[in-house]
Amino acid sequence: MTTVTPAKSAALSHIRICDFTGQLAGAGATRWLAALGAQVIRIEDPVRQGKWDILRGNEPFQDDRRGIELGGGFQNHNVEKLGITLNLRTDRGKELLRQLVEISDVVSENFAAGVLERWGFDYPALRAIKDDIIYVSNCGFGHTGPYRSFRTWGPIVQAACGLTFSSGLPGLPPAGWGYSYMDHHGGNIMAIAILCALVHHQRTGEGQWVDMSCTEAGAALLGPVVLDYTVNGRPLRRTGMPNSNRSQFPPMAPHGIYACTGDDDWVAVSCRDDHDWVRFAEVMAQPWCGDARYATLAGRLAHEDELDLAIDAATRSWNKFDLAARLQAVGVPASAVQKPAERIDADTNTSAWGLWPTVEHREMGEVRVDGEPAHFSETDWVIARGAPCLGEHNEQVFGELLGMTTAQIDDLRTDGII
């Protein structure tokens, strides 16, 4: 049996995005739309060689070669998009942008607030070009309010919204997030914003402007803990907190990450209730397991520090995968803390999912990238084409979409417009 992968997903094949997004917080949004079949036309600056996206040409690199086409992060975040260049310092560049907006459903960007406005393309201007255009902006603090001009990037957003503080162990500074969690979800929530506006347009024919502040999108991921403050007056900034390897929503114990044999090897265990505790204790088979203080959740919570120390001493003689499998076999949620090689190359579930598709990039060749975590029965995602090289699709977009001749496109190149 052979299966033929379609060239594109059909889900959003009727949608065209005029896309100024970059980095991950923006590019992640249109990555999803492109994988689901939208035509995403990514606009880059020919003068600065696309470097308004700092990931373009940045590490990791596949081999010893360096250059703006060879950055691993940029390549990962821009698969399945078309790439064009446009010099918006020029009148002809602006005129071409107007033509692109006219034939697009959405204009998306994650510049600092005010950049598009300075170029003459704020929402009223975009609307004058196409009345039902959807304009989605995403920046650190949004386009209104006293901090609208503040500078941010992922870790700044995370620190300002409460996410960094929420990750850590007692008596230590915040551990925070060891990556730009809010670049991923800034992008994903921006995708939701674009999709919401498209659904509204489908029903009513109306466009709109969506103003997204990445900091608010991040804060919105901390709901219950904020209610514990506004309703109960219990702030997360209090002695002994945060303690995020434990579970406060709902209380569970034991619930933590414990050392195993091997170099920096750890296992995560959650006992959801007394039932899980009894089974966990049977597997551990330690003298303290029968301690009456641990028989109830209230008792385990009251003596959680002592219990965690005892567990950590016992798990040190276990291999992390063996212990997780043993606990799963008796019905207790557990998992090894997986290293990148383990979850990417040795996890049967990620390979069965097809989670690491290989794309073909014009300069890099074959590269594996992130897949998508949802499979669609009728219009599944397709990730096969690598990120666009600078101006790779100028002929296709200016020629096929805007109807220009090869000679006219050559002139644009000669004149520094593209």
Binding site: F150, T152, V210, E216, A217, G223, Y229, F249, S335, I344
Partner: protein
Amino acid sequence: MERSESAGPGGPLSGLRVVELASSRACFAGKLLAIYGAEVIVVEPPGGHETRHWAPFAGDVEDPERSLWWWHYNTNKLGVTIDLDDRAGADALRSLIATADIVVESEMPGVLAAKALDYPDLRSLNPAMIWVSVTPFGRSGPRASELSTDLTVLAGGGPVWSCGYDDHSIPPVRGGGNQGYQTGSIFATMSALTAVLHRGATGIGQFIDVSLHAAVNVTTEAATYDYLVAQRTVQRQTGRHASVRMTTSSFAEAADGRTVHSGVPPRSAAEYQRLVDWLDDEGVREEYGEAFFLEMGVARGGVQLNEIATDPEAQAIFNAGREAIRFMAERSTAYEFFMGAQHHGIAATVVYSPEEVLSDPHFVARGFPVEVEHEDLGASYTYLGLPFICNGSASQLRRAPRIGEHNGLLG
């Protein structure tokens, strides 16, 4: 455009009906659809869903109508109770699903099939419906039946490996807030809306299989692509990106004892100039004492990363820049530092605890904190607002439903 007025009833998703089977894993997907205007009917068993029994409770009074988890994740939803194990209940669910545009559920694989209430059983009732399943490892796959919690999902899927402290004898850390579940819910929402647009164009419904394990695997940034592209393994560090090389600390302690994020140490001429200006504006150039190096940084047009290791002058400039920011942090409160840095164009910030966001003047000015009326308790409480603003309309939040509050919908 301020969030001063409502855009009218509904929001962008008004007109869509969603049937959600109550769960801990997918409740955030239902919430995202509900707060943007979809009619979301959350189906609980008689007596209420398990998460209503999760502490903490309002006023610490244990009561299924007072769980803060339930309150937060079920705003703007309608609530019905149905016993799926009884014939009449199963019929009631079938009738409801026959009217749905979207079904969101998070039952373990096989659970709904055993009741003849899974997508293949119900598809003929409503061929154009979009059914989104959210499970720990997907509906099929070798690990599909494994048990999980938010902690084990994040441990197995990559995020935990990248978070923690410089000292690797301290366990790696799960970030707070049940982000594994929320990551799955975010992708479930993206999927549902994508399928709605496809259906609008073609009339075709479909089944969507969302895996939490896959979702957290593809949201770990360089931990994944550094391995995929260069076969390198990142290592966790205190409060900053896990990296193949150790980087310098990005935290400083302000005069009020609070942690601030000092950003990336400056390297460009413009950044050195802004730092000099900041020192001058505060009148502390002399006190800092190393402004000379910052001016050298301006004069030589900034320093390059590769020069810092080899050129003593570049190294002195780089260190002076980093130390100037630390100096400013140590002599101000965290908030003063945040304002001072940002007003001089330097990307740095206070590290807020989640509740502190609500009283920050910026978020207040944008209408992000929202009062939600709990008329049943004779009180109103402040909730977090919406993650994005559609057409400048105000956040409209309605309290979560009480048990069976909208059973009238079942006819």
